[in-house]
């Protein structure tokens, strides 16, 4: 189910208030997204843990494809 960029970004901001967040609509259909999140909160966490945190932030949305990139800085 498509999600608007504003909706997606605000869902991520809620979970990562201090992060630098970028959302890219990969296919122009608002259903295939790539998100890049830079947040010191990821420091010391495995990639799997980092991605899980992002998945949790958008768990209420049914996004067809969500590519995740995370970094601590």
């Amino acid at each position: 189910m498509p999600i608007s960029e504003i909706e997606l970004e605000s869902a991520l901001k809620k979970k990562f208030p201090d992060a630098q967040i970028e959302c890219q609509d990969l296919a122009g259909d608002t259903d295939h997204w790539e998100v890049r999140i830079v947040d010191p909160v990821f420091q010391g966490q495995s990639r799997i843990q980092q991605h899980k945190m992002v998945q949790e932030a958008v768990v209420d949305y049914d996004i067809h494809a969500l590519s995740i990139k995370t970094a601590a800085k």
Binding site: I48, S67, I68
Partner: protein, 111 residues
């Protein structure tokens, strides 16, 4: 298949095989771009692996998500351990971390 049996099946698949890829479609005919990409990457590394087509078994498709506590497919297991989905496998391949893990586990030669 009841749920307990599904989780047991997964457990034995990942412990009895060194590398298991849960994917949509088969190695020869993947049904999803992400599944296809991970499958190709394993082939590129010349790694023997078992591919489990979750589209053939809806119980397994839901079961693997629950077993790993991970919402998407593909899922890659190495020596019984969840390594990641497409994004993580791709990224750790690019940084060489994936190869290091495989070498540590004796599945990839040290060269």
């Amino acid at each position: 298949m009841d749920q307990k049996a599904v989780l047991e099946t997964i457990k034995s698949q990942i412990t009895e095989n060194d590398i298991v890829l849960y994917m949509k479609g088969t190695k020869e005919t993947p049904q999803c771009g992400f599944s296809s990409a991970v499958s190709k990457l394993l082939t590129e590394l010349q790694l023997p692996y078992i591919a489990v087509n979750v589209l053939e078994n809806p119980d397994l498709r839901e079961g693997i998500k629950e077993y790993t506590d991970w919402p998407t497919i593909p899922q890659l297991y190495v020596k019984g351990e969840f390594v990641g989905g497409y994004d993580i496998v791709r990224e750790s391949y690019e940084t060489g971390e994936l190869q290091d893990v495989l070498k540590d586990k004796g599945l990839l030669s040290q060269s």
